[in-house]
């Protein structure tokens, strides 16, 4: 599904190397988690994959089902199946959540040469998906993320993911700012989307989220590289001992 090879990335504005050779393959149907200390490059990786400005790829490749992601505009990546659930979902005053969702869904369908969803089909679909995430009609009417609580914002991200049905879901610290109940709700939303055609890359600081979204593979990232890869037990090890031991072991 997603294949990253020797990816090197630096910030455009300052000459600072953030990713220093990331190798990572996420297979369809699998959930990979990336853990790592602050500043290790986890969020940068998610931004680079989704096409945010401000980063320069100096070496390496990133492909989704064989297509070169790095050559595509953000909207082309989205249409190809990349979805990033933001750590800090953006507030957009003046744009209704519903209008936003419908525009996004139909833009992607159009880009893929599919027919656009009719207003009534769209409405039916969004109501059904919103209900599962306990997002009420009022929240759908409000401007995108404006005045939403932290939990509401994250649920709104998952709603977008459910509506867009991407192939490759990247979740950037989706657990941050969530209480236990909200985390459960978000995790249920993610788990409902798990299927054999879809890959997940879950970025998190804590093991907590991985209790709810069970990963198949766990990677530890530090200083712009993946330094260790293992099974779910690796996350538990981090939870108990911190990153210190693993970092020491690698050095």
């Amino acid at each position: 599904m997603l294949e990253i090879k020797n990816l090197h990335v630096k910030l455009e504005e300052e000459d600072k190397q953030i990713l220093k050779g990331v190798d990572l393959t996420v297979e369809a149907g699998k959930v990979h988690a990336i853990m790592g200390p602050n500043g290790s490059g986890k969020s940068t990786l998610s931004y680079v994959l989704s096409g945010r400005d401000g980063y320069e790829v100096t070496e390496g490749t990133a492909e989704l089902e064989g297509a070169n992601l790095l050559d595509m505009e953000p909207e082309e990546r989205a249409a190809a199946g990349v979805f990033l659930a933001f750590q800090y979902p953006v507030e957009i005053p003046g744009v209704g959540n519903m209008t936003f969702l419908r525009t996004a869904v139909n833009a992607q369908r159009k880009a893929r040469g599919e027919e656009e969803l009719s207003a009534s089909d769209f409405l039916k679909l969004v109501r059904e998906k919103a209900k599962a995430l306990k997002i009420d009609a009022e929240m759908l009417k409000r401007p995108v993320n404006v005045g939403f609580s932290g939990g509401e914002k994250k649920r709104n991200e998952i709603l977008q993911m459910a509506m867009l049905e991407p192939k490759m879901c990247i979740l950037d610290e989706t657990d941050s700012g969530l209480d236990v109940d909200a985390m459960k709700l978000v995790a249920d939303g993610v788990n409902a989307l798990r299927d054999e055609g879809r890959g997940f890359l879950v970025i998190t600081h804590y093991q907590r989220l991985l209790d709810h979204i069970k990963p198949d593979v766990v990677h530890i990232m530090a200083d712009g590289r993946i330094i260790k890869t293992g099974g779910p037990e690796l996350a538990l090890e981090v939870e108990h001992n911190g990153y210190g031991d693993i970092l020491a072991e690698v050095q």
Binding site: A79, L84, I92, V95, A104, Q108, P143, Q160
Partner: protein
């Protein structure tokens, strides 16, 4: 202080090109206005109040020619049931207008108010304009009062069942029109006035509005799509106790526009909202100049102006809130913002507060900026193409101003026009 010779000459040159209409009962009001005008002279670029907008083409003896813009679109407000009053190049067109009778209102042409003895109109003509000359001079309004060739007097005595629509058609490339309307809204009465169209190659328009205690007036205006036209408009509004005035202006294109709103809150608990959304390209120059005087207790005023500028367009905002001594519990809000779609455009803003009461809440803000990169990326990351995402954010930027229009159908029509402007630019 004597008027500088150059200003005096410019003023006289302009006056030579004009003929004052037969005065009748308005004769003294016109003469007074002419005296006011001669005392202050027409504006020049050296005047502080005209620092950001060059008045040259508005005061020159002859109007520059302006091409008439033709298109097949339904004109603004075209889909709504309304009483239509049509002016073509500044001349009333009886054929194109509806019958001017409607329950709850009496409408007369300016030229008839003497023979029909319309007292209130005679007593209002030129009065609010004269009051509005202090503390800032507005010579083009005085010129208007003196030389206006046409207009209507609208007397609202009940709650009107449909809006009154003033349509200004532009047909002659060399037209130079001066219109003056007077409106009085009686106690408890309520009306919506719509204005649309470019009116003329050069348009000088003045409306004096007197709203009695408990009266309500909604005003929505669209200034047409003729790009080469020039306009200087003034609205002088006096509000009585518990009265309401809400005005919104949409400007799409127009090489030069100066819209002045002069509002006086004279009765307690009155409410005045003025808003505007404008979008312009290239040599587009748009100036909103607002002066709101709070002279009563517990009044609310609100100014919301948004401008989208590209390819070297210029936006100007001069907005003042004056809170007089004793105007306690005043609630004044003012926001003026511009969205610059490229580095060539500019926004010049002069927000002012002058407060002599000690128990008031006044706020003002003015910003100028580009499309928010983070929001743009967020939309694109969901698959929305860049142009579409930019357009969505542009409309979102304008939304706060458009929301000031209470009638949902009209507000939607406005959004459609703005969307059209965006669609024409790919």
């Amino acid at each position: 202080m004597a008027l500088p010779q150059v200003k005096q000459d410019a003023t006289e040159a302009r006056l030579t090109a004009l003929t004052m209409p037969e005065g009748g009962c308005l004769g003294s009001a016109r003469d007074e206005a002419l005296r006011r005008l001669r005392a202050m002279g027409l504006p020049s670029r050296r005047d502080e109040y005209w620092k950001y907008t060059r008045p040259d083409t508005l005061v020159s003896p002859d109007a520059a020619r302006a091409a008439v813009f033709h298109n097949d679109e339904t004109p603004m407000f075209g889909a709504f049931d309304r009483l239509r009053i049509v002016f073509v190049d500044g001349v009333f067109d009886a054929e194109a207008s509806d019958d001017l009778t409607m329950e709850g209102v009496r409408i007369d042409r300016l030229e008839d108010i003497c023979c029909k003895d319309i007292h209130w109109a005679k007593d209002l003509y030129g009065v609010l304009e004269a009051r509005g000359q202090k503390p800032v001079e507005r010579p083009l309004a005085a010129l208007n009062t003196a030389y206006a060739t046409d207009g209507v007097a609208i007397h609202v005595t009940g709650k009107l069942s449909k809006p009154i629509s003033l349509s200004y058609v532009h047909k002659d490339e060399a037209s130079d029109a001066i219109l003056h309307h007077v409106i009085r809204v009686e106690s408890g009465a309520e009306a919506t006035i719509l204005e649309n169209g470019p009116a003329a190659s050069r348009f000088n328009k003045c409306i004096e509005i007197d709203i009695a205690d408990g009266g309500t007036l909604h005003h929505v205006r669209a200034q047409g799509r003729d790009h080469e036209r020039r306009a200087a408009t003034h609205m002088f509004t006096r509000l009585g106790r518990e009265s309401v005035y809400k005005s919104f202006t949409l400007t799409v294109n127009g090489v030069l526009t100066r819209n002045e709103q002069v509002i006086e809150l004279t009765g307690d608990d009155a409410v005045a909202h003025v808003a505007g959304a404008c979008v312009g390209d290239g040599d587009f120059h748009h100036d909103d100049t607002v002066f709101i005087t709070h002279d009563a207790v517990n009044c609310e005023s609100r100014q919301v102006f948004k401008k989208v500028l590209r390819n070297g367009a210029t936006g100007v905002f001069q907005g003042k809130i004056l809170v007089k001594e004793g105007a306690q519990k005043t609630d004044g809000y003012q926001i003026s913002q511009s969205l610059l779609l490229d580095g060539d455009s500019q926004f010049l803003a002069k927000p002012e507060l002058e407060i002599y009461a000690d128990d008031v809440a006044c706020s003002h803000g003015s910003t100028s900026g580009a499309i928010d990169d983070t929001a743009l990326f967020y939309l694109r990351s969901r698959g929305v193409p860049e142009k579409k995402a930019t357009d969505m954010l542009t409309l979102a930027f304008l939304a706060e101003a458009v929301q000031e229009v209470e009638d949902r159908a009209i507000a939607e029509d406005i959004v459609t026009r703005l969307q059209g402007w965006l669609d024409r630019r790919s």
